[in-house]
C-alpha cells in the first residue's frame, strides 16, 4: 500500500517538473492562526499574502500563465500539535510548493523543525521575530521577512535616548516577541546611560489593564515604551494610560504601528516615537494603498511582511522556472538580494517579466527585504513620529 502511494506521489511530482512549460496550478500553503489569540490580525495577513499570489496569477507571466492557489490552514498560534498536523496536511497531502507562515514563534518553530525542514519545504514567516529562530538548524529552508527583535530594541533605545528621555517605563506583551524585544530594548537603553523606572508585562486578550497602567504610572517616568500589539493588549494599555492621564508620551515597537491607533487616540498622544521595519522609500505607503484598493487593511503590523513573504515565494518560483520545492529554496536569496532591478509592491508583473527574460531582480517590497546568510532580513528601521494625524518618517536607522 505504502509503496503504491509513493509511486503515485512520485508520478505526480515528476509530472509537475516534467511539464514545466505548460501552464499549471501551483499550490502554496498559508498557515496562520485564524483562531486563537491573534485571530484578529491574521485575516489581513493572509489576504496580503494572497494579494501577491493574485497579482502574479493575474499578470499571466508566471511560468507561462500558471496560477497560484493558496491553501489556508489554521496554526491556532498556540497549539503546536494542531499546527504541525495542519502543516503536515499542507505538505504531504495538498503537496504545496512552499509555505507562507507560520505566525507565532512557538508554532513556527514546531512546524519548521518537525514538518517543513524534514520534508524540504521552504517556509517564509511574516511575523515570527524571536532571536531563537536564527539558530535553528534549518538547512536553509526557513526564512522570515520580519526582522529579529534584537536589532529593533537597539534602534528604539537609540531613538528614545537621543530625543532626550533619560528615564522610561516599559511594558511588553508577555510572549516571546514582547519579552525578547523588551530585553533588547532595556539592555540597550541602560547601556546608553538611561534608567528604566519599571518593567511590567501585560497579557494579550485580557479584560482590563488598569492594574498595569497604575503600576507603570506610579514608578515615576514620563514616557512609556509599549512593546506589544496594536489590536491586542498594547492598545488596551495606551487607552488606559490616556484615560487615566498616566502617560501621553509613548515609545512604540513595530507591533503598535497602524493608522487605527491614531484614529482612536492620535489627538491625545504627544511626543511619541515609534520604530517599524522598512526602508526610506515610500514602499510601505504604496503597499498600503495597494492593499486598501483590494479591501485589505494593510496597516496591521505584519501585513507588509506577509505580502513580501508571498511575493518572494512567487519570484523564487519564477527564477527557478519551476515550482519544485528545492528550486524555490535555491532561488530565495537570489531574488531577495542585490544585484538586480529593485522591485516594489505592485510591481510583481515587471519582476516576472525580467526573470522570464533571464534578468535579475532585487526584491525590496514593502519592508525593505534583504536576506542575511541565515535567511533573515537585516532590518533597517524607520523612526516615526505622529504628525498631522498620521505616522510620518523622521529618519531611517
Amino acid at each position: 500500500m505504502k509503496k503504491h502511494l509513493l509511486t503515485v506521489a512520485l508520478a505526480a511530482a515528476l509530472a509537475t517538473s516534467g511539464f514545466a512549460n505548460a501552464a499549471q496550478t501551483i499550490k502554496i500553503g498559508v498557515i496562520l492562526g485564524f483562531t486563537g489569540p491573534i485571530e484578529s490580525l491574521t485575516p489581513d495577513m493572509a489576504a496580503s499574502a494572497e494579494l501577491a499570489f493574485k497579482e502574479a496569477s493575474d499578470s499571466g507571466m508566471l511560468l507561462n500563465g500558471s496560477t497560484i492557489t493558496p491553501i489556508r490552514a489554521d496554526s491556532t498560534c498556540v497549539d503546536a500539535s494542531a499546527a504541525t498536523a495542519a502543516a503536515e496536511r499542507l505538505i504531504t497531502a495538498d503537496k504545496v510548493a512552499a509555505i507562507m507562515g507560520a505566525d507565532c514563534s512557538g508554532v513556527t518553530t514546531a512546524i519548521a523543525n518537525s514538518v517543513a525542514i524534514p520534508n524540504g519545504v521552504v517556509m517564509v514567516s511574516p511575523s515570527a521575530t524571536t532571536p531563537a529562530l536564527s539558530s535553528i538548524e534549518d538547512k536553509g529552508f526557513f526564512f522570515r521577512t520580519a526582522p529579529s527583535d534584537a536589532r529593533q530594541g537597539q534602534v528604539l533605545a537609540d531613538a528614545v535616548f537621543e530625543s532626550g528621555t533619560k528615564i522610561i517605563a516599559v511594558t511588553y506583551t508577555n510572549n516571546d516577541y514582547g519579552k525578547g524585544l523588551s530585553d533588547a530594548f532595556i539592555g540597550a537603553f541602560k547601556a546608553l546611560g538611561g534608567k528604566i523606572a519599571i518593567v511590567a508585562a501585560h497579557e494579550d486578550g485580557k479584560g482590563d489593564y488598569s492594574a498595569e497602567v497604575a503600576a507603570l504610572a506610579a514608578a515615576g517616568a514620563d514616557k512609556l515604551a509599549v512593546l506589544g500589539y496594536l489590536d491586542q493588549g498594547g492598545k488596551g494599555i495606551i487607552q488606559a494610560s490616556l484615560d487615566t492621564g498616566a502617560f501621553d508620551s509613548f515609545a512604540l515597537g513595530d507591533g503598535m504601528i497602524g493608522q487605527s491607533l491614531i484614529d482612536a487616540f492620535g489627538k491625545d498622544m504627544v511626543d511619541t516615537i515609534a520604530t517599524s521595519p522598512g526602508g526610506s522609500s515610500d514602499a510601505m505607503t504604496n503597499f498600503i494603498s495597494l492593499a486598501k484598493a483590494n479591501k485589505i487593511g494593510g496597516e496591521g503590523p505584519y501585513d507588509g511582511t506577509s505580502y513580501d513573504a508571498g511575493a518572494l515565494i512567487v519570484l523564487a518560483i519564477q527564477a527557478g522556472g519551476t515550482a519544485d520545492r528545492a528550486s524555490i529554496q535555491a532561488n530565495m536569496n537570489k531574488v531577495a538580494n542585490a544585484p538586480g532591478t529593485k522591485i516594489y509592491p505592485g510591481e510583481l508583473k515587471k519582476a516576472l517579466e525580467i526573470l522570464t527574460a533571464g534578468g535579475e531582480v532585487d526584491y525590496v517590497g514593502a519592508t525593505n527585504i534583504e536576506f542575511s546568510d541565515v535567511g533573515e532580513v537585516y532590518g533597517t528601521y524607520r523612526q516615526l513620529e505622529i504628525k498631522d494625524n498620521k505616522f510620518s518618517l523622521v529618519k531611517v536607522r
Binding site: K3, L6, T35, A85, R89, A93, N119, G180
Partner: protein
C-alpha cells in the same frame, strides 16, 4: 446505534470505524497526516484515561487539567536540557536559599497556626507571619532570579535542566503532577462540586502563570525549543546509509525502471518521505506502549476490590462512609493518580512537539477539549475514554478541512465576487468550534453515557 446497545461487539465496531477513518485520511490525504493525528490521539487518550480515573471512577470534577499537563511539559525541559553552569554559579545559591526560606517559613506558619490557641488573634498572627516569610524569601529570590535571567537572555537565561534522556521526563512529569495534585487535593478536595471545579480551574491558571513568568526556571514566555528526542531526527536519517539502503531496497522495482539521473532525485524524495513516516512510527510505538501499560493498570484497578470501593463511594458517599470507608483519603489518592497520568501525557506531548511554550496553555484546548473527549467517549469506561481521545482529536484536526470543503459546497451557487461568499469562505475556520460543540451536544442528547458507556449500568 440502539441495535448495538449491550452487545459485546460494540467496542470492536466503534474502534473499527475509528481505524477506518484514520486509514481513509491516510489514503485520501497522506500517511504523514494520519500518523501525526494518531500520535496526538494516543496522547489525548492517555490524558482522558487520567481524567476518567478522577471523574469516571470517583466523580471528582477536576477542571485543572491544563495545569497538570503544563507541569508535565516543564518536566521535559528540566530533565532533558543541559544545565547552564554559568547561571547556576550566578544565582543557584541565592535561589536555593530563597527556596529554603520559603519551605521553612511555610512549616513555621503552619505550626504557628496550629499551636496558637486563641481564636481572635490567630488569623492576624498567621497573616503577618506569612507576609514576613514572603518578604524574607523575596529578599533572596529577587537578586538571584535577576542574576540568572541576565545570563545570555536571548539564548539561555535560565538554570537549564539535568541533561538526561528526555524519555525519563515522562516519569518525572507524572511525579511533578502527582506532587502538585497532592498539595492541591489537600487544600481543595473538601469543596463541593462546582466550587471544586472553579478552584481547580483557578489553580491551573496559577500554575501556568508561574511557569510562564518564572523565567529563571523555564525561560517563561521566551520558550524552550530544540528539546532532544527519544527517536532519531529526520535529517539524520536522511544522511544515514542504512536508512537510504532500506528505502531503496523497499522501492527496488520502482527505482530499477528509471534512468540513472532520475534515480538519484527519486531516491532522495522517497527517503525524505520515508524519514518523516519512520520517525512518526517510532513515536507511535513508544506512545502505544505507554498507553497499553496505563490501560492495563487502569483495567486491573477498576475491577479490583479497590475499584469497586471507589465506585461505591462515587455512587453513594453517605452509604460508603457508613461502612467505614475513608472517603477523603480515597479521593485524595484518586486525585493524585489521575493527575499523574495527565502529567505523563503532558510530558509526552512536549516531547513530541520538541518544545515547551508555557504561553500557549489555555483552558479551551487543554481542559475543556479533554473533557469533551471524556464525555463523548464514555466516562467510567477506560476503553470509552480512549475512544473519546481518538475521535475528538480526529474531529478537532479534520474539522478545519471539512469546514472549508463544506463552505465551498454551500457557496457553490453564489456569485464568486459577492461579499457574502467571501465572508463565508473566510469564516470557514470557525467551523471547528461549532462542529466540536455540535458533536458534544449530539452525544449528550442521544447517547448520554458516551459512545461506550460504563458497563455496570450507572449513568
Amino acid at each position: 446505534m440502539s441495535l448495538l446497545k449491550g452487545t459485546r461487539l460494540r467496542p470492536f465496531i466503534v474502534f473499527g470505524i475509528m481505524a477506518a477513518l484514520l486509514t481513509f485520511v491516510g489514503i485520501s490525504q497522506s500517511w504523514g497526516v494520519s500518523l501525526t493525528i494518531i500520535n496526538m490521539c494516543i496522547i489525548s487518550a492517555i490524558m482522558t484515561l487520567g481524567v476518567n480515573i478522577q471523574w469516571g471512577y470517583a466523580g471528582l470534577f477536576n477542571v485543572g487539567i491544563m495545569g497538570f499537563c503544563a507541569l508535565g511539559g516543564a518536566a521535559a525541559v528540566l530533565v532533558s536540557k543541559a544545565p547552564v553552569t554559568e547561571a547556576w554559579s550566578a544565582g543557584g545559591a541565592g535561589m536555593a536559599l530563597a527556596l529554603l526560606c520559603l519551605v521553612a517559613g511555610c512549616c513555621f506558619v503552619f505550626i504557628l497556626n496550629r499551636k496558637w490557641g486563641k481564636r481572635p488573634f490567630r488569623t492576624t498572627v498567621t497573616f503577618i507571619a506569612a507576609l514576613g516569610v514572603y518578604f524574607l524569601a523575596r529578599h533572596f529570590y529577587d537578586p538571584a532570579s535577576a542574576a540568572i535571567e541576565a545570563v545570555n537572555p536571548a539564548k539561555t537565561g535560565y538554570l537549564g535542566g539535568m541533561g538526561m534522556p528526555i524519555i525519563l521526563s515522562w516519569i518525572v512529569g507524572g511525579l511533578f503532577a502527582a506532587g502538585a495534585a497532592w498539595l492541591i487535593g489537600k487544600v481543595t478536595l473538601g469543596l463541593r462540586t462546582d466550587y471544586l471545579a472553579i478552584a481547580t480551574l483557578g489553580i491551573a491558571e496559577i500554575i501556568v502563570a508561574l511557569l510562564k513568568n518564572e523565567d529563571w526556571l523555564t525561560r517563561g514566555a521566551k520558550n524552550v525549543t530544540g528539546l532532544p528526542r527519544p527517536v532519531p531526527f529526520e535529517l539524520q536519517l536522511q544522511q544515514d546509509s542504512w536508512f537510504v539502503d532500506l528505502v531503496s531496497r523497499f522501492n527496488a522495482d520502482l527505482l530499477a525502471g528509471l534512468a540513472t539521473d532520475e534515480r538519484a532525485a527519486t531516491l532522495q524524495s522517497l527517503v525524505m518521505d520515508a524519514s518523516g513516516i519512520f520517525v512518526k512510527l517510532c513515536y507511535t510505538g513508544l506512545f502505544l506502549m505507554v498507553l497499553l501499560v496505563l490501560f492495563t493498570l487502569c483495567q486491573l484497578a477498576l475491577n479490583s476490590p479497590w475499584g469497586r470501593m471507589v465506585r461505591a463511594i462515587r455512587d453513594n458517599e453517605t452509604a460508603a462512609a457508613a461502612m467505614g470507608k475513608d472517603i477523603k483519603g480515597r479521593h485524595l489518592q484518586i486525585f493524585v493518580l489521575g493527575s499523574a497520568v495527565v502529567g505523563i501525557a503532558g510530558a509526552m506531548m512536549t516531547t513530541l512537539d520538541g518544545q515547551f511554550t508555557p504561553g500557549t496553555y489555555n483552558p479551551l484546548r487543554y481542559t475543556f477539549l479533554i473533557w469533551v473527549m471524556v464525555i463523548v467517549g464514555g466516562s467510567g469506561n477506560n476503553l470509552g475514554s480512549i475512544l473519546g481521545g481518538f475521535l475528538v482529536w480526529f474531529i478537532w484536526i479534520e474539522a478545519e478541512p471539512m469546514g472549508t470543503w463544506l463552505m465551498n459546497v454551500v457557496t457553490l451557487g453564489l456569485d464568486p465576487a459577492s461579499a457574502l461568499k467571501a465572508h463565508l469562505l473566510g469564516s470557514a475556520q470557525y467551523m471547528r468550534l461549532m462542529v466540536m460543540g455540535g458533536v458534544l451536544l449530539l452525544v449528550l442528547r442521544y447517547s448520554p453515557g458516551g459512545i461506550l458507556a460504563e458497563k455496570s449500568g450507572h449513568k
